[in-house]
Every structure is written in structure tokens, then in C-alpha cells.
């Protein structure tokens, strides 16, 4: 038997091995995609109802005597008038046979708790409405929305149903009269947190995340890039620098909650900076993202071919000029990619922020880095923990918003890499 025969004999076995390996690889990818699809369909399926808003159209009589105000009243008086009564009377007008106290309470709970503030703001904006009868679309309560959206099954026996027969009857009458309508839920993107699912919005959390990341970026990017340049281009090769290198790599693996504890001890307790503020959150997260950016920047700088440096130095550029005019621009796509990935990591982080008081109920939209605020992943956590059923869809919707920002950030990273990448 010569060598060719030996090879031929083993050939079949080798091909088989390759085929098995390829199939295994394919199956792994297919499984991963399957899990991702299950996750996404589950989240999107649950989130979709959150983007529609259920309203009840009511005719309200804004009589000047009833409210005790007129178009010339001061804004304070207009603000403090009893709008709840007006809405209640409109509801009673539709169902005049409701007389018992308990039943009335049920009836009044058809509209959201926010309806009176909605009416108040409408009147403040349009004082000419006073003394007239207006048809206004009021926000419906989350239970009504649940019935209309089909989250509460109308066919269940009454004892097992959250919305009892009487209330269901009212809702069905309103539906038959065409007084219930659904619109796109703009409020979800324009308001802060609320304890009523129908009024809760994500804007506060989005802005909180924005301010936090702004501080993180402003702190970590310059420091990390400067550190990487120094370590790669200027630092002498000695034991001390090796020691720093090891520590940076270790720091990248430290659990993030540790940074939270550090933030609590140093920034809040020692420097007495405000609790729950994006500025503290940003500093803590920048501690966390620093090693990520330093490591990415260093490898980007290392990948710039030495010939480039030598050419610059040979033409008489100083070391500083070489680095800033030639090496850094060439390394920038890698540095930016690393930075964006670090920022995306920071965007999804909750653990360190738990320690510095960002797990809080905050309704007002933050205006600056020192206003109390929360961030997107924490908003998800808070809503997931709420007893009201309506928050289930809000939770999924908030996850979708968070995923959208993560995907967008990663897409930018890929785009930058593709656009500025150079082949040496």
C-alpha cells in the first residue's frame, strides 16, 4: 500500500468529521437564533398594546357657576377649580340610574385619575371654553383599557373577572355609542413615570439615561484615550507599567455593583453629592466603562502599523505630532467602536445605580444632570414589580425602547468601523 492509498482510505473519514463539525456549528447558530426569536416575539407581542391608548369621549358642561370661575379668573383659581365633579356629572348623565354610593364610585373609575388634570390643562389653555359644553376625549382607566384591548377576557365568569358585570355593561354601552376610541399612545413618549398604567411614560427614563451617559462619555472618553495613548506610545517598558496593565485588565472584570458601593461611599457620603442624580450615576458608570475603552483603544493603537510612525518620525515630526497627526486618526475607528460598545454596556447597567438611589419613583422629567432621575433598565425593573396588570405591557414596551437604543448604538459602531476602517 503506498501513501496515496493511505490518504484515500482516510479521506472518507476526514470528510465525515468535517461534515459533523459543520452541522454542529449550524445547529448552534440555529438554536441561538431560535431563542432570540422567541424572546423578541414574546416581548414585542406583549408590548404592542402599550402603544395604543384607550379614550372615553365625554360631553362636559363647563358651567362657570359650577366651577366658580370665569375667563377672567386668575390662573391659580382656574387651577384649583373642581374639575373632577364636572367629569363625574358627565358620567352620571350617561347612566342616570346609578344612585348607590358604591356603584357611583365604580362608575367614576371609568375615566383615569388623570382625566381631571387633563380637563384642567385644557381649560387653562382655552379659557374661552368656560360656559360652554365641550366634547373631550378623556383617558380611560387601565381596567377599561384592559377590556377594550382584550387583556381582560369578557367571557370569564363574573367571579373570576376583574371588571364586574355592571362595569362591563357600562363599557359595552359606551362602545355601542361609539364613545370609546383608541389612538396612538403619544403620552408614552412624552410623560414621566406614573402609578397609573394608562398615564405612565418613558420620557423621564430616556432623558435620565441620556444625562447619565452624557456624563459617562464626557468623563471616560478623554481619560481612557489619554491613558491608552500614554501606555502604548510614551510609557517606558518597566514593572510599574506592567502592574498598571494587569490592574486595568482586572478592573474590566470587577462586578459592577462594586462600583456602585464605591460611588455611594465616595461621591455621596464623602463629597455629599445629590442622591439619585445622573451626575453621580454617570461618574460611577464611567469608572465601569473606563477599562473597556482603554483596552479597546490600546489594541486599536497597537494595530496601526509601525511603518506609519517611522515615516512620520523620519520626516522630522516630533513624537507628539506623530501620535496626534497620524496614529490617532488611524486608530480612531477602533477607539470609537470600543467607546460605543462601552456606552451600550453602561446604558443597560442597573446594579451600580441601585446603590446610589436611582431606583426611585420620579414623575418630573429631569432637566439637568443634577435633577433626580432614573434610567431605562431601572424603569423596566420598577414597572415589572408593580401590582397593576396594565404595567405588564408597559414593561415590555420599555424593554423594546431599551433594545432599540442598544441596537442603534451598535449599528453606529458598525457603521463607523466600516466607513473609516483602513486595510494596511
Amino acid at each position: 500500500m503506498n501513501n496515496t492509498d493511505l490518504v484515500k482510505k482516510s479521506l472518507q473519514k476526514r470528510y465525515l468529521k468535517e461534515r459533523i463539525f459543520k452541522t454542529m456549528g449550524f445547529v448552534s447558530i440555529a438554536t441561538a437564533i431560535l431563542f432570540l426569536l422567541i424572546l423578541l416575539t414574546d416581548i414585542i407581542g406583549k408590548a404592542l398594546p402599550a402603544f395604543s391608548q384607550t379614550n372615553i369621549e365625554l360631553q362636559v358642561e363647563l358651567s362657570e357657576e359650577q366651577l366658580g370661575i370665569n375667563a377672567n379668573s386668575s390662573e391659580d383659581d382656574i387651577r384649583n377649580a373642581d374639575y373632577r365633579k364636572v367629569i363625574r356629572e358627565a358620567l352620571l348623565g350617561l347612566f342616570p340610574d346609578v344612585t348607590k354610593r358604591k356603584e357611583k364610585r365604580e362608575l367614576y373609575s371609568l375615566t383615569s385619575m388623570g382625566a381631571e388634570f387633563q380637563l384642567r390643562d385644557t381649560v387653562i389653555e382655552n379659557p374661552e371654553f368656560l360656559g360652554t359644553t365641550q366634547t373631550i376625549n378623556f383617558l380611560a382607566d387601565d381596567d377599561v383599557a384592559g377590556v377594550v384591548k382584550g387583556n381582560i377576557d369578557r367571557n370569564l365568569p363574573e367571579s373570576d373577572r376583574r371588571v364586574k358585570n355592571q362595569k362591563l355593561g357600562w363599557i359595552e354601552t359606551l362602545e355601542a355609542n361609539g364613545q370609546i376610541n383608541t389612538t396612538f399612545n403619544w403620552q408614552f413618549f412624552s410623560s414621566g413615570d406614573s402609578r397609573e398604567p394608562e398615564m405612565a411614560g418613558i420620557k423621564g427614563a430616556i432623558l435620565g439615561s441620556f444625562f447619565t451617559l452624557l456624563v459617562t462619555l464626557a468623563l471616560s472618553f478623554p481619560i481612557a484615550v489619554a491613558a491608552a495613548i500614554y501606555l502604548e506610545e510614551f510609557a517606558p517598558k518597566n514593572r510599574f507599567i506592567d502592574f498598571i496593565e494587569i490592574n486595568i485588565n482586572n478592573l474590566a472584570a470587577v462586578p459592577s455593583i462594586v462600583f456602585g458601593l464605591l460611588g455611594l461611599a465616595v461621591f455621596i457620603n464623602f463629597f455629599s453629592m445629590p442622591r439619585s442624580a445622573p451626575v453621580v450615576g454617570g461618574i460611577v458608570l464611567s469608572l465601569m466603562t473606563l477599562p473597556t475603552i482603554i483596552i479597546a483603544s490600546r489594541s486599536a493603537i497597537k494595530a496601526v502599523p509601525p511603518s506609519l510612525r517611522e515615516a512620520a518620525l523620519g520626516l522630522g515630526a516630533s513624537k507628539m505630532q506623530t501620535v496626534f497627526h497620524h496614529v490617532l486618526p488611524a486608530a480612531l475607528p477602533g477607539i470609537l467602536t470600543g467607546t460605543i460598545i462601552g456606552m451600550a454596556q453602561a446604558l443597560g447597567e442597573t446594579a451600580p445605580l441601585l446603590m446610589i438611589g436611582m431606583v426611585a419613583f420620579i414623575v418630573d422629567i429631569p432637566q439637568s444632570v443634577v435633577d433626580p432621575s432614573t434610567v431605562l433598565p431601572i424603569q423596566v425593573f420598577l414597572w415589572a414589580d408593580s401590582p397593576e396588570r396594565g404595567f405588564l405591557e408597559k414593561t415590555s414596551a420599555a424593554i423594546m425602547v431599551l433594545l432599540f437604543f442598544l441596537i442603534a448604538m451598535n449599528a453606529i459602531a458598525i457603521y463607523l468601523r466600516k466607513k473609516f476602517e483602513k486595510k494596511w
Binding site: 478623554p222 451626575v279 438611589g357 420620579i362 408593580s386
Partner: protein
């Protein structure tokens, strides 16, 4: 360029801490995650109906809240802390040691802890003794003074009238206030039914506590995290399991789960309010008196929280599952708040 950036950053950081030192224009609340759902509702209404800023409410747990609250009198400390139990003497002492001399206690109402299972599953008519015998790590035998590792695996072994279902209970972890309250009210309540154990209380308090308060660790009690919604989802997947959580979650999910009776009382609004349902606890918040005049809106917030339309028998907090105080207690609380009566234990 870079230097400029850094200088401006440092400057803004210093400015940030300065702003904090100068004062705060919103109320800061910390404390129990059980009171959080009620406190937030009041805060939101307060923010929407007045020109004051909406108070900030952190959910830190009762113990954590006390620490933040008692840290000092400066404006960088919390104004109010929520608690799902009464303040301990040691905590009040910590407050006093740090200069927080005047604290006002406000009792807001009650919260029930329910044992529930899937709506289509078996009916459980439990007693506190059943709960103790099913969930304690060690239980007493026929012989007085003897304890054995809990041998029960089925509910009908605990009590012949209960269904023949495996004991499987999903409940909160030891860090939770709900767990503390469940152990204290349900388990200890059942444990005390054994006369000799009751007698140990005066003789050897730590032994008494270790008998009554220790939950078994052999898998019959499953720690399901602090998220009560998760427990409810798991109950639907596993009809044989029971879950332990706050009454407001039962109230909101009455189409998915049903509460077991405890000592013959249904877990309902009325029975918890009357005290007939045995597993219920009081909820409080504590106010730093020194901050009432210092932080804008404090007086108005206290008024809103203790108003009839919030805390009263038909107030909006009852819609969120709070069990209100009876009229006498309510009047007393209201009076204490009006006079800002200093708490003395």
C-alpha cells in the same frame, strides 16, 4: 482643548455639589417597598394638583430607609421614611444620636399577606398551625420538648382535611419585609399553639425564635425573589404550588389566583380591616420634624397623605389595596400629624 474640557467638568461637578448644599425644592422619601406603591400614588397626585415638585420616592427597604433617614438633619438626608413595621428602639436611638431628635410617626393603614394558588386549583382552608407545621424547619413531636426535622411532604399529612398535594410554597427571600411579617404573624402564630413552645418564650427567647421563625430549607419552601408578579406567573404554571405575597397583588390578579382562608377568614378587604384575617401588619411612615419648615411642600404633602380622600375609608389608597384605619385611629393619626407630635417609644 482637553484641559479646557476637564476644567469645565470639574467646575460643573463642584457646582453640582453646591446646588445640593444650597437646598432642595422637592421632598425626598425613602424606605419600605411595601409602602412604596401607596406613597407613590400620593406623591403623584400631590405633584399634579399643586405647584410643588413631585416628591422623589426611593424603594430601599424598611431597614435601609431607617439608616438613610437617621443619618442626620442636613437637607441632603431624606425627609420621610416608609416602614412596613414600627421603628425599633435601636433605630430611634440611632436617629437621636445623629441629631434627629424629633420624629413624627404616621400610621397609614394595614396590609394583608396572603397564601394563594391558581384559580382553578384546590381550595385550601389553612390555619396558622398548618402553615407552621408545613413550613418550619423543625416541628414538635407528640412528646413534649422534642423536635424533629420536618417530615411532611404532603399537605394532607399536615392536616387530614387538606388536599393530598405536595407541599410546595413560593415565597419571598429573607431580605424581604413580607417574609419577616409572614414568619412573625403566620408561622409564630401557629407555633404558639403548642403550649410547651409558648412557655419557652419567657425561658429561652432565642430558642423560641429559632423554633418558630426558621423556615425549612429542603426545597418545600422556594425562595422566589422579591418580585410578586413572578410568583403569580409561576403559580399559573404549577397549579399545585402555593404562593405568599401582599394583598394588593391578590386584589389586582383575582382572575388568576385565589387566596386561601387562614383560620377560617377569607383574605378580603373587610376581614383584613376588621382584624379577623390574622396575617396582616401595620404600615407607617416617619417624618423628620426639622424638615417640615425647611423643605417646600412638606406640610401640604402630609395633609394630602392623611386626608380623608387618600387614607380614609373610601380614599384612593384603598383602590390600590391599602386596608384603611378605623375612624377612631384615623382621627388620632390626623391629630398627631396636625400637631406634629414627637414620637417617644
Amino acid at each position: 482643548m482637553k484641559r479646557l474640557k476637564k476644567i469645565s467638568l470639574v467646575a460643573s461637578l463642584i457646582a453640582a455639589s453646591q446646588i445640593q448644599a444650597a437646598g432642595r425644592d422637592y421632598i425626598s422619601v425613602v424606605g419600605s417597598s411595601t409602602v412604596y406603591p401607596f406613597s407613590t400614588v400620593v406623591a403623584e397626585r400631590f405633584g399634579k394638583s399643586t405647584t410643588f415638585k413631585t416628591p422623589k420616592i426611593e424603594s430601599t427597604g424598611t431597614g435601609g430607609g431607617m439608616k438613610l433617614f437617621c443619618k442626620g438633619n442636613g437637607v441632603d438626608t431624606a425627609d420621610i421614611t416608609n416602614a412596613s413595621r414600627r421603628i425599633k428602639e435601636s433605630e430611634l436611638k440611632m436617629c437621636h444620636d445623629n441629631g434627629v431628635n424629633e420624629v413624627v410617626e404616621v400610621l397609614i393603614g394595614y396590609d394583608g399577606i396572603v397564601v394563594a394558588n391558581d384559580i382553578n386549583s384546590h381550595e385550601f382552608k389553612l390555619t396558622r398551625k398548618d402553615l407552621f407545621l408545613a413550613l418550619a424547619k423543625e416541628i414538635p413531636t407528640e412528646k413534649e420538648g422534642e423536635l424533629v426535622a420536618n417530615p411532611h411532604t404532603m399537605w394532607n399529612e399536615v392536616n387530614a382535611e387538606l388536599p393530598a398535594v405536595k407541599i410546595e410554597v413560593l415565597g419571598p427571600p429573607p431580605t424581604s419585609g413580607t417574609r419577616d411579617a409572614f414568619v412573625e404573624l403566620a408561622m409564630e402564630g401557629g407555633c404558639k399553639k403548642f403550649p410547651w413552645i409558648k412557655e419557652t418564650k419567657s425561658a429561652d427567647k432565642s430558642k423560641y425564635k429559632s423554633i418558630c421563625h426558621t423556615i425549612r430549607e429542603d426545597g418545600a419552601y422556594i425562595e422566589a425573589g422579591e418580585n410578586d408578579n413572578l410568583i403569580i406567573q409561576k403559580l399559573q404554571k404549577n397549579p399545585d404550588a402555593l404562593g405568599i405575597f401582599g394583598f394588593s397583588f391578590l386584589d389586582q390578579n383575582s382572575d388568576l389566583v385565589k387566596g386561601s382562608t387562614v383560620d377560617g377568614a377569607e383574605p378580603e378587604f373587610e376581614t383584613i380591616a376588621s382584624g379577623e384575617y390574622p396575617v396582616s401588619r401595620p404600615l407607617f411612615f416617619y417624618v423628620k420634624k426639622a424638615h417640615v419648615s425647611e423643605i417646600p411642600g412638606m406640610k401640604e404633602f402630609l395633609n394630602e397623605f392623611t386626608s380623608e380622600k387618600a387614607m380614609g375609608e373610601e380614599g384612593y389608597l384603598t383602590d390600590k389595596g391599602l386596608i384603611p384605619l378605623d375612624a377612631d385611629k384615623y382621627m388620632k393619626v390626623k391629630e398627631n400629624v396636625m400637631n406634629l407630635k414627637n414620637l417617644e417609644l
